[in-house]
């Protein structure tokens, strides 16, 4: 197994773990944690392909990963703000109980 294959398999497994967490947990914050894990798995793919690609000096994959980290930080801030707002309205973060869009 080449190093790149190992990194890609780790990223795929981490993505699957994050997806399973996002799809199976009740708590809205845990769903956001699963989404963060999926974004990080994608970043690991980008960095691994940058490192073992034919032109690492062009920095393309590295830049993509850095911008992806910045966008993920913005997503986390807005997502957790939304969870706090929902908790104030409904007094719960249980996604099985939040089943209507009317405030």
């Amino acid at each position: 197994m080449t190093p790149l294959t190992g990194y890609l398999l780790v990223a795929a497994l981490l993505f699957a773990i994050g997806l399973a967490g996002a799809l199976t947990r009740r708590n809205a914050i845990l769903v956001l944690i699963g989404i963060e894990l999926m974004l990080n798995a994608a970043n690991l793919n980008l960095i691994a392909f940058w490192r073992y690609g034919p032109h690492p000096e062009a920095l393309t994959g590295m830049m993509f990963a850095i911008f992806s980290i910045a966008v993920a930080a913005a997503e986390a801030a807005v997502g957790l703000g939304l969870v706090i707002s929902i908790h104030r309205h409904t007094k719960t973060v249980d996604l099985d109980q939040i089943n209507r869009m009317k405030g």
Binding site: T2, P3, L4, G6, L8, L9, V10, A12, L14, F15, A16, I17, G18, L19, A20, G21, L23, T24, R25, R26, N27, I29, L30, L32, I33, E36, L37, N40, N43, L44, I47, W50, R51, Y52, P56, E57, L59, M62, M63, A65, I66, F67, I69, A70, V71, A73, A74, E75, A76, A77, V78, L80, G81, L82, V83, I84, S85, R88, V93, D96
Partner: protein
């Protein structure tokens, strides 16, 4: 494939698995921090020093703290008696397993065509800064706008409303 890679991969995957399976939500946040640290070390192992330290600063320093704040503000650290997994957990698990099967199959099928090990690239922070200010200056400006908008938006969304306020 060095022994360091296997240790870091095991640490990252164990942290991720604990983050989505533990019952106490605060423990989940701590396990998530372990997974983020393992990923940062994997980035360092891939000779991406800047991305590794950015990962430590942004994810461990900011996102993990934000998650802990959200857990404490919503008082959701104790597991509810109805269980921590959703009613449709089996379907979610099957979908995740199917996604991993497809991704793993694709990776293993294309493994012979992937590039083999190459020499470590020497990238200095100066080069990254020059690239950010040169070729990638427009995406940098857009990300700056996005972060400003997200900052204002998160504050407005989570702000107390006039009527429910004490």
């Amino acid at each position: 494939m060095t022994i360091v890679f296997y240790i870091l991969a095991a640490l990252t995957l164990a942290g991720g698995l604990a983050a989505v399976t533990l019952r106490n939500t605060v423990h989940c946040a701590l396990a998530l921090t372990v997974a983020f640290a393992g990923l940062a070390l994997l980035f360092l192992q891939l000779d991406a020093q800047f991305a590794g330290f950015a990962q430590i600063l942004i994810y461990i320093g900011a996102v993990a703290i934000l998650v802990v704040f959200a857990i404490l503000l919503t008082r959701s650290s104790d597991a509810p008696e109805t269980g921590v997994f959703s009613k449709t957990w089996l379907a979610g698990l099957v979908i995740a397993a199917a996604v991993f099967a497809v991704l793993g199959w694709a990776v293993l099928r294309t493994a012979p065509m992937l590039p083999q090990s190459s020499t470590a690239p020497t990238v200095t922070v100066q080069q990254i800064g020059a690239a950010l200010m040169g070729r990638y200056v427009l995406p940098l400006e857009i990300v700056a706008r996005l972060l400003t908008a997200a900052l204002i938006g998160a504050v407005i969304v989570a702000m107390h409303e006039k009527e429910g306020a004490k």
